[in-house]
């Protein structure tokens, strides 16, 4: 946010009042965002622990935590699992399924559409702990609903297929946002264009590719980036698998929780948090850059 030094004072506030106007927000951002980020960097350079001597008297260990993290197989596994989680549940799952639902429902009105929308929305607005309980009941090895439906007693979905389980779970959980966004976006596609395309003999796929997609490209971009960021930082899978069994579903947010709070390595956890912050910043910068490029293209 630039200080109000611009020669064209559009709001007519004057410098003093403009500063006074922006100051509370800047202070809040400083206290709650900038300071914690800097503090995280500092903690990441220490051997700070939750208990024991290093809790009372942490020592600086330099970049030790960062080199340990980057050389640690568990951290690298966790990054790879997070990539799978984001690709599977955010991009293919939420964005893909959300678009499919929006496309199928675009011309429908009446009870079917309302029912589908209500169900998809419900999974989005329920509290995380309730949802986790429902999914554990569904996937449980002993007496789980899914095993009863499929007739596969004793199949341990959360243990044998932890990643697919949390990917399907997160797709189910977050599709509503993408569906609503694409529903709104598809309203922007003029029906006359689609009609013209149909008259010219375009197949459904060709209509999608040549008429719909160019119109909603910006929405797709926003949607994919938002859901990726949200999914990348999502902690809810912890409620299902706690990162287990033996770390096979330990995505980065769960990894940080496990090392920092369960194992008590606060300094190391802070270092990993900072690495995650950097990845998030890269995401966000890419998003801003793409958004700006779009605005610069006329039309």
């Amino acid at each position: 946010m630039a200080p109000a030094t611009s020669p064209t004072d559009a709001a007519g506030l004057g410098r003093g009042r403009a500063v006074a106007f922006a100051l509370p927000a800047l202070v809040l951002i400083g206290v709650f965002l900038v300071f914690p980020a800097i503090w995280t960097v500092y903690l990441g350079l220490t051997d700070y622990r939750l208990t024991g001597p290093a809790a009372a008297d942490p020592r600086l260990v330099g970049a030790g935590n960062y080199t340990t993290a980057l050389g640690d197989g568990r951290f690298r596994d966790s990054v790879w699992l997070t990539v799978q989680f984001v690709l599977g549940s955010a991009i293919i799952g939420q964005a893909g399924l959300g678009f499919a639902l929006a496309w199928i429902m675009r011309d429908r009105r009446g009870p079917v559409r309302r029912l589908v929308e209500a169900l998809v929305l419900l999974s989005w607005i329920l509290p995380g702990s309730v949802v986790a309980f429902l999914w554990i009941a569904l996937l449980d090895r002993d007496g789980g609903t899914l095993n009863a439906l499929l007739g596969t007693p004793g199949a341990a979905w959360l243990l044998d297929h932890p990643m697919p389980s949390i990917i399907v779970f997160n797709t189910w959980r977050g599709t509503a946002f993408s569906m609503m966004l694409y529903s709104a976006a598809l309203e922007n596609v003029p029906p006359s264009h689609l009609e013209t395309a149909r008259l010219a003999g375009a197949s459904a796929f060709q209509q999608l590719r040549d008429v719909v997609l160019p119109r909603i490209k910006g929405h797709v971009l926003t949607n994919v980036l938002l859901t990726s960021l949200w999914t990348f930082n999502d902690f809810t899978p912890f409620l299902l698998t706690a990162g287990g069994p033996e770390g096979r579903s330990e995505i980065l947010p769960v990894y940080v929780y496990n090392v920092a709070l369960r194992d008590g390595q606060l300094g190391f956890g802070a270092a990993v948090s900072f690495l995650i912050l950097v990845i998030n910043l890269v995401f966000a910068l890419a998003y801003l850059r793409l958004l700006r490029d779009r605005r610069e293209v006329p039309g």
């Binding site: 927000a25 809040l28 939750l50 208990t51 024991g52 001597p53 033996e246 966000a284």
Partner: protein, 460 residues
Amino acid sequence: MRLFHRPVLIATLTTAVLTLPACGSGTPAGKDGVTLTITANAISGGKNTAAAEWIKQWVIPRFEAAQKAAGREVRVLFQPNGVGDEQYKTKVALDLKSRTGADVIDLDGIWVGEFAQAGYLKPLTELGGTAVETWEGWKQIPQAVQGLGIFDGKKYGLPQGTDGRVLYYNRDLFGKAGLPEPWQPKSWQEILDAGAALRRLPGVTPIQINAGTAMGEATTMQGALPLLAGTGTEIYTGGKWAGSSQAVKDVLEFYRQIYSGGLGDPKLQQEAKGRDKSFAEFADGRIGILAEGDYFWRAVVDPKTGVAPMAERDRVVGYARIPAKRPGAGVRGQDFVSMSGGAVRVLNPFSEHPRQAWELLSFMHSAEAVKAELAGAARVTSRSDVNAEVLAADPMLRFVSEEVLPITVYRPGLAVYPQVSAALQEATADVVSGKPVQEAATAYRAKVERLVGGSGNISD
């Protein structure tokens, strides 16, 4: 960026606004009275329900009445928890780190060292004053049990009692499998033999020896350490930690025989709620042999207050000492082994009313209170006078006190122990998920070496 920041800001603001009035008034007192808070990993209708009921129904009204009689207005609140031990530990550590939390806190004795080193605890005399030294209870608590609350020669907490690990078995299943009863295995092989016989029963998991990381310290305490003691080794002796010695490999090999040989359920060891499930399965007659502390008898399968109650516990559940690998192969040349620990209650050093908190704490450990806590149930308490009275009442209590406590081993109260314990849990997890024993032992040794500062601190 702005898109993400706005909700964050709103959330932070809301949290700040909501929590501000709470700041600085962690103990909302009545008019010019004192309010004290007790916390424990106990909750009515859930985990350790009997302890929660005792605090709410007995301790609080009686302590408040006693204080009132002395002309003081004191209110006592109970802050219940019903979570895994590791989560409870994290919560209490975070409370103390931010200089808040309850005035009287329940802790596992093994955490006292690392909490004290972190500055989260202070010796009782520094908080409670001279009243601590003159407390009548000290002479009733045996030295070994007092040790649960001692770190670096200073008393940080009052022990609640101690416990011992045994093998529980289902007598009905043993009868069906044609196994002898009463059963007392004399070697690891005899446990495996019994398991092989139980395996023929449909729907029955023969043996449950806790393994893996999901069960946390329960894996170490109920599984790896009693087995290690059965090979004649302790995790920490003579200033050195056990590395990838033959003893550790023997323990891991025993795990392999159970979980790769179809005698145990490997999946159960990986489940997030595996330990609770093992309780439910044993109570349901689906597990033959299970290694647990006496906690299992009095809080899990207890017909009235257990989390997995067994109406016919006294008839169905048998118990036996844990054998050494071979007769005479255990620590100190013993034939049988066990592990002991115990909970303590500590004072919060950041309490606004430490003197009153000590009064409450010592009140909770008076003979009268300890007897009320038992409420007729089986439990080895910290007080000899109470034990002498209640010992006769329950055969299981007598068994633990007379047969198990004399042969038991305590864990090292060092800050690094929980991390070594975690490494040991990971080694069992490796073996249960099918990795070779040698590989698991080597990985364990590498981790311990990093934790304890080089191979000079490892016994081999």
